[in-house]
């Protein structure tokens, strides 16, 4: 019972973060919000007894993807500033 409540709360946070990622004006905050979705998704995977998937989601979803998005954002801003 307590597990279902925790999973429900985590899923609600993920939904809110997804809305933030879509609707926020600042792209940086949108990228961070999408990283937070992956972080909470990995916790949910542990509660659903899938630790293999949880490790993948935590390392790829919330570390590598976010950093690649930030590199690309930085690059785009530089080329925008030049024009």
């Amino acid at each position: 019972m307590i597990y279902s409540i925790i999973v429900l709360i985590l899923s609600l946070i993920m939904l809110v973060m997804a809305l933030v990622a879509i609707h926020h004006k600042s792209l940086q905050i949108a990228v961070i919000a999408s990283g937070i979705i992956s972080l909470f998704a990995s916790v949910v995977y542990i509660f659903l007894a899938a630790p293999d998937v949880a490790i993948t989601e935590a390392s790829i979803g919330s570390a590598l993807t976010v950093i690649i998005f930030f590199y690309v954002l930085n690059k785009i801003r530089h080329s925008d500033a030049k024009e």
């Binding site: 790829i60 590598l64 690649i68 690059k75």
Partner: protein, 235 residues
């Protein structure tokens, strides 16, 4: 008006499809034939404590080879697209903060060891080559963030990547010659259940996969890092 009504129709159709799926759904109490075979016979046939690993590396080893190939192609294409003209003559970056640098001196070896632990113990504990490789690549991120002016050699990553890729294929072919088929793990003795050197060739295969994935993801990160601050018109 027409566009809006079209949207409503599409949403209603999707809702109808999902409702059909939902109303026809009933949870199963037992595994189907194939999954049941993996769950019951996997322990004695493969000898890995982590059943996910025995499926990923042995029963479905060919699919894993496909995944590794896709990742390799991705790294290759990114390297091709991001070919910057003047690599190297970038402006010197500002030094990172004292906190980050000091913390990375402590954390870098620990995170690296965790990554290596995850892929060497892939047959005993959760995780495996892909997860361990991703953690190895995240140490590279921390390194690039904290030691901003360090030089990381592409050559080392390339050699690691190709040597482990070739060894992975050679182990697979050895399985055809010495044991039951491509990527069969019985080319080495199964050993005692639960020990580090058990489950045949799985620890060896997963170590090569881990090194390969780690090198590929590191190459991708490094490519993206090296186009920062360069002045190229190709993008």
């Amino acid at each position: 008006m027409l566009r809006n009504s079209l949207r409503v129709i599409i949403i209603a159709a999707l809702g109808w499809i999902l409702f059909q799926v939902y109303s026809g759904y009933s949870s199963r109490d037992e595994l189907n034939e194939l999954a049941g075979y993996y769950a019951t016979e996997g322990l004695s046939e493969v000898g890995a404590a982590n059943l996910v690993t025995s499926v990923v590396v042995t029963y479905r080893g060919l699919d894993t080879l496909g995944e590794v190939t896709i990742l390799f192609l991705t790294a290759l294409i990114i390297g091709l697209m991001l070919k910057a003209e003047h690599r190297g003559d970038r402006t010197r970056l500002r030094e990172s903060s004292e906190f980050l640098v000091t913390a990375s001196h402590v954390l870098l070896p620990v995170i690296f060891m965790v990554g290596v632990y995850i892929f060497i113990n892939g047959h005993l504990t959760p995780g495996g080559g892909f997860q361990g490789g991703a953690i190895l690549a995240s140490t590279l991120i921390l390194m690039l963030l904290s030691f901003t002016n360090s030089k990381i050699s592409h050559k080392v990553l390339e050699i690691t990547e190709s040597v482990s890729g070739i060894s992975f294929i050679v182990l697979g072919i050895l399985g055809v010659i010495l044991a039951g088929g491509f990527l069969d793990n019985k080319i080495l003795p199964l050993g005692e259940f639960g020990k580090l050197f058990s489950a045949g060739a799985i620890p060896v295969i997963y170590s090569f996969i881990g090194l390969k994935v780690g090198a590929e993801l590191s190459t991708i990160i490094l490519e993206f890092n090296q186009i920062q601050g360069t002045d190229d018109k190709s993008l």
